[in-house]
Amino acid sequence: MSSFVAQAQQSRWARIKGSNLVYDFMHNPVAIVSFIIFATIVIATMFSPLIAPFDPYDPTQYDIMDSELPPSWELAGDSKFLLGTDAQGRDLWSAILYGTRVSILIGICAVALQAFLGISIGLIAGYIGGRVDSLLMRLADIQLSFSTLMVAIIFLAVTQAMFGTEAFNRYALYMLIGVIGIAEWPQYARTVRATVLAEKKKEYVDAARALGFGPLRIMLRHILPNSISPIFVISTVQVANAIISEASLSFLGLGMPVSQPSLGSLISSGFDYIFSGSWWITAIPGIVLVVLVLVINLLGDWLRDVLNPKLYKG
């Protein structure tokens, strides 16, 4: 029996290795490079407390006397601070590691929230149809007619004014996740609804009904797994979008506080000093942000091509 199980596991691994997805990945240099960069960034940020030489959240670890030191390769640079320091004397390399972690965390959590809301609403709208569908989709249209940033700015500005900056800063992370998550659910809802409409006409759904399965089981176990590939594709794009939204909001001072910087708030904090020659405080986090978003989008593009070869390889 045990050898039987081992054989099954081996064949599953072999199946994954032999799948189209992996084959296409191994033959696509853009995808490989993007994935390596993305994986490096994610792993580095996950272990940032181990990698970073300083803790940017701990004010006792930095000294105002070290402020605005350029990167170590510049003449005035200090070898202690690889990428220089910001206006408060904080090591930029450590701050970027921690900041990217915050950005990715917000991006993924916000997208998880979007996906949860959007997939549930899309499944219900598509499967039940009729008035429920019309109502939910009009809600989605209304939500889409407000731009994400506008909704987020209004909401965050009002809460900041109501609860004061101190309380706001404490819960900024959760509020950003919530706002970005709620503002973008229609993207998922619409896509999921469209695929559900296509899937529910297929005969296996009739067969499932003829086997006496209830609507919840049919939705979650039969239709949803068949709609998963567009969900994957939007998820990658949405993570990139959420990271950009977060950065924009933080840049506008409505996101993460400077004491717990994200990439956006680092860019923002350096922006005041850019004309005094301290370009690195803004430019280096900016480059990290661009690279991060770019590789996520490239991976998303690749995934879209692989999962939907008919539609996009015109």
Partner: protein
Amino acid sequence: MSLLSVRDLVVKFAMRKQTITALNQISFELARGERLGIVGESGAGKSITGFSILNLISQPGYIASGNILFEGQDMATMSAADLRTIRGNRIAMIFQDPMVTLNPVLTIGQQMVETLQAHRNLSRADAEKIAIIKLREVYIPAPEDRLKQYPHELSGGMRQRIIIAIALLLDPQLIIADEPTTALDVTIQADIMELLLDLCQSNKVSLILITHDLGVVSQMTEKTLVMYAGKIIEAGPTREIVNDPQHPYTQGLIKALPQQTAPGERLSQIPGNMPPLSDVPDGCAFHPRCEYATDLCRSTTPEIEDLGRVKVACHEVQRLNQRATPKEDSA
């Protein structure tokens, strides 16, 4: 008491401009272990009959009136939760195209275990054991390995056999097979039909076989309904209907069988097409295509009459019988 008794079933579809009557006063009885064939052209309402027995007609269709009594319970008025305890469990359905009936993202094992667990309180291991037994019954080689495979890894005939195994999983009293072999190769068609017949006979399962193939019906079933434009036009024992069809439409169908034509001759066919359900002519729906049609046929809808051996809905059937020469047994 008969297992299934359909009485005056009317199914309508509410379209944008008009309401279409897809099934008009359908009545039939099915005893335990009995096999019934439903034949007719595309669009005659055969599949809708099958679906409405399970009360699976979806929008914009609805059951307008009539009863579908399954063991005395009326499927037409039953709650959704009660329906689910019957669907798959006591009445199973086999669909036309095995390529699309199985869920493409679940393995055969997952689908079979899920079906069992939806109706019975079984552990996964027990459910898998039952699944393997049922797969053996439909002559699937190496059933243990099949459980781990996805539908796309199997051939059409294999998939249809797995679908039959799923239909048999919960030992239903009735199987509704909606053109189960239309999408398969001719050689496999015969195998599948033979398998289905064997399983129904050995498990004492009733069968409703929906098909357009009178040859299949004559081999598989004891009773036959001939449908045309949403109505039953002839019903009775299969042997009678195949050997001595009464209704001009049934006669036309039998004559059109390739076996009825000598080599070198053209196949005889019924002229014209079945009218769309949105535009059924007055009187007998078949009259525009019928060579015996009279003014009465054009104005009045014939009721179904019991002629002793079979029931027929045709005004001219008495006159036709007098004129017709005795037919030789040919099927």
